[in-house]
């Protein structure tokens, strides 16, 4: 299969970026990022600057990879990170458009790499249960109903990739924030900090993310299928804490 790739190239944060076209041959069994590797090998041998993009585990769990492919964060396969997209999924297409996440709070570093440290700072604002090492009680002294633990787990699977922000017309990080709150605040050990929703939402705002106005696009592109019901949970807790 031969593809025409239109890739966003931008040499630095304050530089002007633009699409540049490349042609590449890829096999059906190749992953999307292996196709990008092959392009980069070619560019390197030609003495050109390879395309910068983030990746690491290549098994869909670290949350590093983040390409917008033909307008959709992570690509056409739902519930799937960029690294787990395979070229066989694109065999009916001849031309692909590859862009970085776009949001004020995620400034572009180079080409397809963006700075997502805003997510770290949101967690630092209260996305944890404050327990000092060594002071925990015996694990089974605190039984937790299975459905509660399962609900917490479903939210806890967030990989912090930022697709929810990239797709949102408001560039809101509400799903990311709500997932952390739904993870921690439904568990009995996480219920002490009633102000967690308020603290995280304030941090989100300060980082330059927009607010939620219920487009629900985030749910559609989330590779871990985190549901907007997490946002409902967060709003309920926020209301109760006031």
């Amino acid at each position: 299969m031969i593809f025409k790739l239109n890739i966003w190239r931008q040499s630095g944060p304050d530089k002007k970026g633009d699409f540049k076209s490349y042609e590449i041959e890829a096999s059906e069994d190749s992953s999307f990022l292996e196709m990008m590797d092959a392009l980069n090998d070619k560019l390197t041998l030609q003495g050109e600057d390879p395309v910068a993009f983030d990746f690491d585990c290549r098994e869909g769990i670290c949350g590093s990879c983040n390409l917008v492919i033909n307008g959709t964060p992570h690509g056409k396969q739902q519930a799937t990170t960029t690294c787990q997209q395979y070229m066989r999924d694109y065999k009916d297409e001849k031309e692909l458009w590859i862009e970085p996440w776009r949001a004020t709070a995620f400034p572009i570093i180079k080409d397809l790499i963006v700075d997502r440290s805003a997510f770290d700072r949101i967690i630092q604002a209260g996305g944890y249960i404050p327990i000092r090492t060594g002071s925990a009680c015996e694990a089974n002294t605190l039984p937790i109903e299975k459905h509660v633990a399962d609900e917490a787990f479903d939210a806890a699977t967030c990989i912090g990739c930022g697709a929810c922000v990239a797709v949102c017309p408001n560039a809101s990080a509400t799903l990311f924030v709500a997932a952390k709150i739904a993870h921690l605040s439904v568990l009995p050990q996480g219920q002490m900090d009633k102000q967690r929703p308020a603290k995280l939402l304030q941090a989100m705002e300060e980082e330059g993310f927009g607010s939620c106005s219920n487009y629900r696009e985030c749910e559609r592109v989330c590779p871990k299928e985190i549901k907007v019901s997490a946002i409902t949970t967060m709003n309920r807790l926020l209301y109760q804490s006031r």
Partner: protein, 646 residues
């Protein structure tokens, strides 16, 4: 240095009292003085994040570094199956002693008794800590914690969070670390890679880093340095590790004097998705937990290998693990299962893709489990793994068996450390997979998370404090010449990489070729002649590398090819040491299968008379001629026996 000095500092006395006694004998720094000491932690996976969070909570001034864009992305996150702990919640006869014995036997009696016992002892506190942090472990309907079984144990002691246990534990440690960043006890640097260790004579006093965004080299001084930089499976190019995993930090420390222990001990995990092509960038693991319900088989007859598995009748299937190891069945340890799979494929009974003329794969079949427990129950336990398998192979494992083949997964070897997790460099510690300490010649499943967190939450906070209590805080202004020296050597290396005389081959291409050499000589089967040949091939290819490596772009600013080239350069030296170590160890043990030393059934034949030691290698100034130091292992509480899983 002479052999007498390679002292493990393991305490004496009854095994169960050693850690308690050692803690009591350790010195402490008073709360008011702690902020005067700076600790550098490189790598923020399970071990690094938990260590830095704990040291920060104590009040030390901690500086952390990771090459990823956030500590939450460290490769610990990909651990699937679970974490062992001797809680005995199942009332099936588990105890600290049993976990200790299973672990030391699992490692084929090539680990220290004191360390392994401490690990087993701390395992229960890790679960308490994680639950308190909000790690959503699997629970029973009663609301109490659930367990499952893992390889090499006959009790059910593995705690898990679906197939994402590593992710959940890492997020717990990352959040604890985030809290300390907010409190100001930790200063964190993402996208920042260690280049050099700064030494003051024999003592580590800091590191030189490269900011991966700006390309700037920077120096950071500290009262001690802790390396939690993970393992080096990527030496093989194709492994289940994340693409960025590398040996650079520990290798550069090795070249500054830290001994490297048991480099050839690499774990080959039996259940990975088979390789399907030449340009594949990595392999993907399918959790060992799948062997709780999945049955491993291959066709009895070579003629059946091309048939669809559904068309092969029951009587023509060979459930070879159940046949060969009736008492452990599909849950034999990883090294044993991997060798059995290789044996079957070498006989020509493999299935699936052909690589270099051989079909490399066997079936992992869930049909019986689905029939017995129902689709929903299987989906609840393994849903995410099945989904992952389907994404990669385009086959539905609910309908047709998975195909699996062994792949490099974990490295038991690493920097030599004493009981305090300090390397042979004064003030340099190593935790987690980066050290060699607890797994001997083979790691049991669900033990890596346990070790990383035991090191980080409980051991390093004690031993680092003990070290610092014996020092006066360093005065930064005294060390400008030491800094200049380390900066200069980092700069020289980068310049050399950027300016190869005949640039024509990419670092990835060199890495692929290096990986091939290593896999064939120092993978699942090793022989004297193949290792000797590999050493020559590595030396030749290494020379080529420095002659021909091609990196475009500039060293000023973000350059991912340069990052990779630096890591591959270190793999080129480490791989030679791995082969030298495998050559020296004239026995088979755990993962290390020297074909000259196997029983007729293909099992490892240990030689305790001559090789009951940790091989700790010292850099001599010439990569090809390292000096061997031996730490002899003493077994006072267990008797090394023939590892029998039949």
């Amino acid at each position: 240095m002479n052999e007498f000095e390679l002292d493990s500092h393991a305490p004496k006395g009854p095994l169960q009292d050693r850690w308690k006694q050692h803690k009591y004998n350790s010195r402490v720094v008073s709360p008011a003085n702690r902020k005067k000491y700076t600790v550098i932690v490189v790598g923020t996976g399970l071990a690094g994040a938990s260590a830095s969070a704990s040291l920060g909570e104590m009040g030390f001034n901690v500086k952390t570094f990771c090459f990823q864009d956030s500590p939450r992305r460290a490769h610990s996150i990909a651990a699937q199956g679970g974490i062992n702990a001797a809680k005995n919640y199942q009332n099936d006869g588990d105890s600290v002693w049993r976990l200790f014995y299973d672990t030391i036997k699992g490692g084929d009696f090539r680990a220290r008794e004191s360390n392994v016992f401490r690990l087993a002892e701390l395992s229960t506190a890790i679960i308490d800590q994680a639950v308190a942090q909000g790690v959503p472990f699997a629970r029973e309907y009663s609301g109490y914690l659930a367990n499952r079984s893992f390889g090499g144990a006959q009790v059910s002691r593995t705690f898990y969070a679906r197939g994402q246990t590593g992710q959940q534990l890492l997020l717990g440690a990352y959040q604890a670390m985030s809290r300390q960043i907010a409190e100001g006890t930790i200063t964190h640097h993402s996208r920042c890679e260690m280049q050099e260790l700064i030494m003051d004579g024999e003592r580590a006093i800091g590191i030189v880093t490269r900011d991966l965004v700006t390309g700037k080299l920077e120096s950071h001084l500290a009262d001690c340095v802790v390396l939690c930089t993970g393992g080096y499976s990527n030496a093989f190019y194709l492994s289940t590790n994340a693409k960025g995993c590398n040996t650079s930090a520990i290798w550069r420390a090795h070249k500054k004097g830290a001994l490297f222990a048991n480099p050839c001990f690499t774990q080959i995990h039996p259940t990975c998705i088979p390789q399907h092509g030449e340009l594949q960038s990595k392999l993907t693991l399918m959790s060992e937990s799948l062997r709780n319900d999945g049955r491993v088989w291959a066709p009895k007859n070579i003629a059946d290998c091309d048939k669809r598995p559904e068309d092969i009748p029951e009587e023509d299937r060979d459930y070879f693990l159940e046949r060969m190891y009736p008492s452990f069945g599909n849950l034999v340890p990883r090294d044993i299962a991997s060798r059995a799979v290789k044996l079957i494929c070498d006989e020509g009974r493999g299935v699936g893709f052909e690589i270099e003329g051989k079909k490399l794969g066997v079936y992992l079949d869930f049909a019986q489990a689905i029939k017995k427990q129902g689709l929903a129950a299987v989906e609840e336990k393994y849903g995410n793994l099945f989904g992952m398998y389907q994404r990669i192979t385009a086959e539905n494992p609910y309908e047709t068996p998975m195909r699996i083949y062994p792949a490099v997964h974990y490295t038991m070897g690493g920097l030599w450390v004493d009981y305090n997790l300090m390397t042979t460099i004064n003030g340099l510690f190593a935790g987690g997979e980066a050290n060699f300490s607890d797994h001997g010649a083979n790691r049991l499943g669900a033990s890596a998370l346990m070790q990383g967190l035991a090191d980080g939450y409980f051991i390093l906070p004690t031993t680092v404090a003990d070290f610092l209590a014996k020092q006066k805080p360093i005065k930064a202004e005294q060390y400008s010449s030491q800094i200049d020296e380390a900066m200069a050597s980092a700069k020289t290396r980068i310049n050399r990489l950027m300016n190869a005389p005949e640039p024509s081959i990419t670092p990835d291409e060199f890495h692929r070729q290096l990986g091939q050499i290593l896999w064939h000589a120092c993978g699942m089967a090793r022989t004297k002649s193949s290792l000797e040949q590999a050493i020559r091939a590595i030396q030749a290819l290494r020379q080529q590398f420095w002659q021909k490596v091609k990196i475009s772009g500039s060293e000023e600013g973000l350059n991912q090819t340069l990052e990779r080239a630096g890591r591959v350069a270190d793999f080129f030296e480490l791989t030679e040491l791995m082969c030298i170590d495998a050559l020296d160890r004239e026995e088979s043990c755990g993962c290390h299968a020297r074909e000259e030393h196997l029983t007729e059934e293909g099992e490892a034949k240990r030689n305790d008379m001559d090789y009951s030691y940790v091989a700790a290698w010292q850099y001599s100034g010439d990569v090809s001629h390292p000096t061997l130091y031996r730490e002899y292992l003493h077994f006072d509480f267990v008797r090394p026996s023939i590892r029998n899983y039949q």
